[in-house]
Amino acid sequence: MPDVDVLRQLALDFLGLSMMAIGGVMSTLSEMHRIVVDHHHWMTSTEFAEVVALSQAAPGPNILVVTLVGWKVAGFAGALVATAAMCGPTSIITLMVAGAWQRFRDARWRIAIENGLAPVTIGLMIASALLLVRSADHSVAAYVASAITVVAMLATRINPLWLIAVGAVAGYAGLI
């Protein structure tokens, strides 16, 4: 039976994270790493990178990285708690507010919030991305693999799954 304290902490942490998810999952990864790796020591930096990678490779919304993090921390209960905390409360807010969209859609304060948060979101996303690179790459070959991925994604329309597959094979072959 998983530690109730851990589950409670997981719930509170991901509830907080859900309220700060201004730019999608990616902007929250830095904070997720800080909480899960630096603060609680629930997993290593490398394991965090592995979990993020697996959640990307698996079908479904990227937000379900929290399911895998929760699983790693506290098994099925952890997965459930983390997912519910991340998605539940904000869903309730959405249900309450979505119907009134037309009322605040064109309000200056609404547009100001969007415009104001936009640059902050970019900063957070790039910070998360670089953190992930630091967590995942521990060799020159790994950095090269990440760099090639970036170039491939920006310059071509290749399906990311192919890149993941190549990465998996290269890893297995000991190249990374």
């Binding site: 700060m20 079908p59 919304p61 937000i63 959405t94 902050v120 957070l124």
Partner: protein, 206 residues
């Protein structure tokens, strides 16, 4: 941003049933590797024609604005619009239900076999690629973002605070967000006043 015009509405108003809503989001949910949005959009706008592109963009704006996972918000907002709470529940369950179970399976395999050296090697390779994917996605989104002009300084500050200073996100947001929003609000007000005075001048001159 103006609401979708009358001419942009569908010729035949969409009325998906609860079951159709579930199916639509179920398929979109399991199709989306590393990001469901493109599949969701294609399903909603092009395949099932539940919304026009303008309506979709408008609703997506709402979903980004609201706290929480964007695509989750989208499933709720869209489901709510067509079939109320039952529709919202159907869309959410469709979107997350199966992927959640798949993720549990992945988790099980990971904790059971993740320590094996060969598996670790594969994971190393996948993690390197995944980091590259997130980095490229962040560049793309930065390029597409509405942020412009000197307010990007807030982005730099956020980056420094999080990536270099490793500050807690709550602390960073509580200081930067209101400031950035206030600046944005002042810019909007200034622009509105400028527009009004231009309009007044135009009216004044014969």
């Amino acid at each position: 941003m103006t609401p979708p015009s009358a001419s942009e509405h569908l010729a035949r108003p969409a009325n998906p049933s609860v079951a159709e809503l579930f199916m639509g989001f179920f398929i979109a949910g399991i199709s989306g590797f590393g990001g469901v949005l493109p599949f969701a959009r294609r399903m909603i706008v092009e395949q099932r024609r539940w919304m026009t592109p303008a309506e979709f963009t408008d609703m997506w704006s709402l979903c980004q604005f609201l706290p929480g996972p964007n695509v989750v918000n989208m499933s709720l907002a869209l489901g709510l619009r067509f079939q109320g709470k039952a529709g919202a529940a159907a869309c959410l369950l469709g979107l997350l239900g199966t992927p959640f179970l798949i993720m549990i399976g992945v988790g099980f395999l990971y904790t059971t076999y993740g320590y094996i050296p060969e598996v670790k090697s594969v994971l190393r390779g996948i993690a390197a690629v995944s980091a590259g994917l997130v980095l490229s996605m962040s560049f793309k989104m930065a390029a597409a973002s509405r942020a412009r002009d000197w307010t990007l300084v807030f982005g730099v500050l956020a980056f420094v605070a999080i990536a270099l200073m490793r500050l807690p996100l709550a602390m960073v947001l509580v200081t930067l967000a209101p400031t950035s929003v206030l600046v944005a609000w002042l810019q909007l007000r200034k622009r509105a006043r400028a527009d009004r005075s231009v309009a007044a001048d135009t009216k004044a001159s014969p």
